[in-house]
Symmetry: C2
Subunit: 378 residues, 2 copies
């Protein structure tokens, strides 16, 4: 449904929805309007259950440990509020976390007078062991929880979350993985990862409509969870209870449109119908080519030492002197290319997403546009 | 868009959206999908500003004191969390409040060890002065805030909120009006009401799509407000700031579909195009007729001594021995009538909503269905 006049190389920010998934989405909205009391008051629980089951199968998780939320940040807020942190607690995160989530932790830590540690993970990333060692330099005997991205937003690095979660568990530290950019881009097996808390988006790489995120909480931690928007689900609902306080607390927060979450099964079918794993591989190969070409073009150090650290999205280092705001606007206004350019920890970065709708030709065009821009700016 | 096979007499629960408003809604969603980065990242603030301006005009409020939220309950949660209550504080509400909001106050008061007082307002309601006196029996020198419905959900009573807010202000008590059922059903003038906090829904009586609520906070109280879902808006956003921390805190909470809020101007236009005040009057007259007829049918005391206490929605008292669950199901399965029946404070109630799409014939049919049911049940 994307504007054909734009070369859209920023799938990572908000995703994009295929027509058949959008049609399903619209059908849910029409169904709701046809008989809102039947839909919201009596049938919704079953529709949501089905949507949780499909997602659970896709993520290898028990559907009763999953709840749909509007987006990953919403899920981060649920956990941050539920922990009831004290001044004795520390939260450990990396310097690669998404700004909105980092803001959430700053807010909660300020409010509860607990401490937030922001551990440096240096670039380029060389191997998982190095990441582990750098991260663990931030662990103290007060560390209550480690918050880490599965695929980081500013730097598009796949973090070794399975290893991080296993080691933290041995230390008695809770783990919280921000998978906003993970499902649909990389394989997500929630059982294997073993995080205490995991949030993600279906509207980015899984191609669902906007507003379909999820939170996964291991059964043993569900008693920690409080409702963030209290409504009919707390205290344990008598009438429309699912039997699980965790689900009741988080699913019920008043009248709204659930169509995005309910369209996730259609998005999963779409990924299957189009053999998405092949498309992912082909996108990855195209992206690897651009990373190489950009390295030759700029002569700068790459963010990744190996291609296993990224999948369909990558951070490309730009020359130090680049005005990233101007470059972003120039590429959009002059070349009709939508791609984010920003500074992360001083480093100028262009973040490239390659999705099924992108072509080799578009990537070639990006490279020549960047080459031209850098020449002009030099 | 309602199913023509159902006699829909429960507009009050979730509203219903006219076709032209729904079309506008769908157009917003298509526009978002066409260029999500342009829409969510760069244009959204202006679209929301326009939608706030239209709503502000409709409610006689400064648009910068208004924020769209998914629903009224969401807004209640924002304020309840922001107050940072202590064990010295008391919240006073009536026994006519909406269950989900009452739950919110129980949750917050339990968490902060503050006290919730639930003051009885007896039926029938006779005059405003009596309501004021009953409510003020619950005021103590610890009362921090009075929470009261503009139009109550279980009993459909219009409360004298202007008088309540004025008197509370004299006593130094904050006021919070739950207008979930008010705008679009009765005239709402936020300046005249003068509540410290006011929440409402546009998806009920204003005919907007589901998920369009709002919160209004008097300028002087905006510094009290904390973000409930922390994201890019806290701390004061550098990049996409509106200039108002209040707006930034509450508007920004991650990727989602804003189409319901953005369709509110279309809903307001629809109300104007169809001269909705005339329709409201005609609905009110039809409703008054049913209340009379039901009184004759059951011989029971009415909830309202005067017709100025209700507008397009009314609570009808049912005979004491009625099984309300069975009656509700019977009316739906046998007569295809969607109408809620429940017990409120022991009293069996049927809540009737009359909206522009309802006819005198449908109301006659309801009356004969009720008559038949009560005869059978007797």
């Amino acid at each position: 449904m994307l504007d054909p006049d734009i070369i859209f190389l920023n799938h990572g920010s908000y995703g994009a929805t295929p027509v058949p998934v959008f049609e399903e989405y619209r059908d849910w909205q029409i169904k709701l309007e046809r008989q809102p009391v039947l839909f919201l008051g009596r049938e919704l629980q079953n529709y949501l259950k089905h949507a949780r089951e499909c997602l659970g199968k896709y993520l290898n998780a028990d559907p009763d440990d999953l709840v749909y939320v509007p987006n990953a940040t919403f899920g981060v807020n649920i956990v941050a509020r539920s922990l009831n942190l004290t001044p004795d607690d520390e939260i450990l995160m990396t310097n690669h976390e998404y700004g909105a989530c980092e803001n959430t932790w700053w807010f909660i830590c300020e409010k509860t007078r607990s401490r937030l540690r922001r551990q440096q993970i240096t670039l380029p990333v060389n191997d998982e062991q190095e990441i582990m060692e750098q991260l663990w330099q931030g662990v103290t005997d007060r560390t209550r929880l480690i918050f880490v991205s599965h695929v980081s937003s500013p730097t598009a690095i796949t973090f070794p979350v399975e290893r991080i979660c296993a080691r933290a568990r041995q230390c008695g530290i809770l783990t919280f993985v921000d998978g906003a950019h993970a499902p649909g881009q990389i394989n997500v097996d929630l059982q294997a990862i073993g995080a205490d808390f995991y949030v993600g988006n279906c509207h980015k790489w899984m191609l669902a409509p906007k507003g379909a995120g999820f939170i996964h909480v291991r059964r043993e931690n569900q008693t920690l969870i409080e409702p963030i928007i209290v409504s009919w689900g707390w205290p344990a609902a008598a009438e429309h209870s699912t039997g699980s306080p965790f689900l009741d607390y988080l699913q019920n927060w008043g009248t709204r449109d659930h169509a995005a979450s309910l369209s996730v099964p259609a998005a999963i079918h779409f990924l299957g119908d189009y053999k998405w794993e092949e498309i992912q591989r082909s996108c990855h190969a195209m992206l690897a080519g651009v990373i190489e070409a950009m390295g030759e073009l700029t002569g700068l150090e790459k963010v990744y030492s190996r291609s296993s650290f990224y999948q369909q999205m990558a951070a490309l280092t730009l020359p130090e002197q680049v005005d990233v705001v101007h470059m972003k606007e120039h590429l959009y206004n002059k070349n009709r290319i939508e791609i984010p350019c920003y500074r992360w920890e001083e480093r100028p970065i262009m973040r490239l997403s390659v999705q099924g709708y992108n072509t080799q030709q578009e990537l070639q065009y990006l490279l020549s546009a960047v080459e031209q821009y850098l020449k002009q700016a030099a």
